[in-house]
């Protein structure tokens, strides 16, 4: 029953690659979706090469946005992912105008019920509880079901004595769910604390962009906080700040490298190194390191 969901391909992976940008102008003679234009080096790159390279530009290492489903596929040991709480799906709690349509559209486009996928898996042979947020689902916003799934995952991990690895990407709280979306910040933080007080490990990996209520809750609550290169990580996004202080922000402001310098991130890890990096962390948090492949 669960196997069916393993590695189900997101329906919109083509649309998602390259933030929906295509390279029409550079490659007039080939089909649009064969190439993507890298927003960093501006070069036209073969989409297959970019995907093969973990959705990273082979020329300049720009990290493209990717679906949660695809990330899980790349990160976890083959066949080990077991999805949890996939039956939970959001409803329009406040009868907010336009929200029903927005949800339906997001579900149809992403092939997911909500903006976070939770489950258990193995990474480098170590069992973990895992949540991965999806950038395409209403901008990775946190509504009550996102909060509920993440809370359940921490409670489950606490009961099963599993470490949690969480990949964050979010535009913040989902305003169509009003105060109840805000309350998810407190709810998830409570669950993180419960898991933490049980002496268990929580690693967050901040990806582009992680902002708002997610930054101000579980994204910043990891024992170890990693970030992808150049990921925007902020409480208030750059546009909000520019409007507030009425001046231009320095380049690189609120990027992962900036947070590293200011002391809010433990390390920046290239996407293609993350699996081995996480495996080493997991190994070092075993009671006795097994010294796999030791000296």
């Amino acid at each position: 029953m669960l196997e069916k969901r393993f590695f189900r391909k997101p329906k919109n992976e083509l649309e998602h690659a390259g933030n929906g940008q295509s390279s029409r102008q550079n490659q007039p003679s080939v089909p649009d979706d064969l190439y993507v234009s890298c927003p960093e080096c501006k070069q036209s790159i073969l989409k297959a090469d970019m995907e093969e390279n973990g959705f990273v530009c082979p020329k300049c290492s720009h990290h493209f946005s990717m679906t949660a489903r695809r990330r899980i596929q790349i990160l976890t040991d083959a066949g080990s992912f077991n999805e949890l709480f996939s039956d939970l799906s959001p409803t329009n709690l406040l009868d907010f105008p336009g929200y029903d349509e927005k949800l339906r559209k997001a579900q149809a486009e992403s092939g997911e019920q909500e903006g976070v996928i939770c489950g258990t898996a193995q990474i480098g042979g170590y069992p973990v509880a895992l949540f991965v947020m999806d950038p395409g689902f209403i901008l990775g916003s946190m509504g009550t079901i996102v909060g509920e799934k993440i809370t359940r995952l921490f409670e489950y991990a606490a009961a099963q004595k599993l470490p949690v690895i969480g990949y964050t990407v979010s535009g913040g709280a989902r305003m169509q769910e009003g105060i109840l979306s805000l309350m998810q910040m407190a709810k998830t933080s409570g669950a993180v604390k419960l898991h933490s007080d049980a002496g268990l490990l929580y690693i967050t990996v901040l990806t582009n962009p992680t902002t708002g209520g997610v930054t101000a809750s579980f994204a910043m609550e990891g024992d170890i906080i990693l970030a992808e290169p150049k990921a925007l990580v902020a409480f208030a996004g750059p546009r909000v700040i520019e409007q507030t202080i009425r001046q231009k922000l320095p380049s690189g402001f609120q990027r992962a490298e900036f947070l590293l310098e200011k002391g809010f991130v433990d390390a920046i890890v290239h996407r293609n190194d993350q699996k081995s990096y996480l495996t080493t962390i997991l190994k070092l948090h075993q009671k006795h390191c097994e010294g796999k492949g030791a000296m």
Binding site: M175, I179, L180, M183, K187, S189, G190, A216, T244, F264
Partner: protein, 289 residues
């Protein structure tokens, strides 16, 4: 047609009034939440320092987060309610313009939230109750705030307050602006003044993001369900405190003081584990249908 009796005039007047009511009803409902927003932001509205003066004695203000600095947007210290020592922490917008500038109009920086947490931890150590008074349009959005980890500071408060081993009551007195308000509202009980609001985003911000029109704030205010009554109905707050006019707030303080004293007294009787477990459950059930 011309023979109008007094009765028929009365009847038609009544029916006009009825139909007027029908016409006005949706309009009144639409305007009302935004009227609350304006009331919550009103210049003459009592701020945290007024509440502290009205509710407590012997207030001593303590400063600083012991890490970076002192944030004047948050007033914190120790005081007593009758014979009961408490820790009190309030977001302060300031009264005069000059003071409001000094206090950054109640928009706190990370050091403000860290000062609050430091004093909450102190309250836990001495097992005295914590009263948080919330009045902010939101945590400050600026370069320094981001550099010093606004998100991290709020996140840490949420986590630590959830298991703080002493009673906590948060009182929203004006604006309860998003994460900047929640950072002082992970409490056993959250109370709201009748004309306070609590929202994930300002109605103006919501209108401008969703409808590209900040003038639709009345509509947004309605849909966001941000009034004390809406939030009470949703189970997000436990008490609504009725208000009188700002000049007569002394009567409000007298009632509120008794309510706080009684609530803290009964919370202090409870085993601390039960208190913390109830707080977890309070938030745990939010948003579950």
């Amino acid at each position: 047609m011309a023979n109008l009796s007094l009765n028929s005039v009365k009847e038609s007047y009544a029916s006009v009034k009825e139909s007027m009511k029908e016409i006005m009803q949706p309009y009144a409902e639409k305007v009302q939440p935004y009227a609350r927003v304006l009331a919550a932001r009103a210049k003459n509205r009592p701020t945290s320092q007024s509440f502290i003066a009205g509710l407590t004695e012997d207030f001593l203000e303590f400063h600083g987060d012991r890490r970076f600095g002192d944030d004047a947007a948050i007033i914190a210290g120790v005081a007593r309610i009758n014979d009961m020592p408490i820790t009190v922490i309030g977001i302060e917008k300031g009264i005069t313009l000059q003071e409001s500038i000094k206090r950054n109009f109640g928009a706190a920086h990370p050091e403000g939230y860290r000062k609050a947490l430091r004093l909450m931890k102190q309250a836990e150590k001495f097992h005295r109750p914590v009263l948080c008074i919330v009045d902010t349009s939101g945590a400050y959005c600026g370069i320094g705030a981001e550099e010093r980890g606004q998100g991290q500071a709020i996140a840490e408060n949420l986590m630590e307050m959830m298991t703080l081993k002493t009673p906590v009551i948060s009182l929203l007195i004006g604006e309860g602006g998003s994460g900047g308000a929640l950072a002082l509202a992970v409490a056993d009980q959250v109370w709201m003044m009748e004309n306070s609001i609590y929202s994930v985003i300002s109605p103006e911000g919501c209108a401008s993001i969703l409808w590209k029109d900040s003038q639709k704030m009345q509509e947004a205010a309605e849909h966001l369900k941000l009034t004390a009554q809406d939030l009470f109905d949703m189970g997000v707050v436990e008490q609504i405190i009725p208000e009188s006019s700002p000049k007569e707030f002394s009567k409000v303080y007298a009632v509120l003081k008794t309510m706080l004293y009684d609530s803290f007294q009964s919370a202090m009787q409870k085993p601390v584990d039960e208190l913390v477990a109830n707080r977890y459950q309070r938030f745990r059930q939010m948003g579950i249908q």
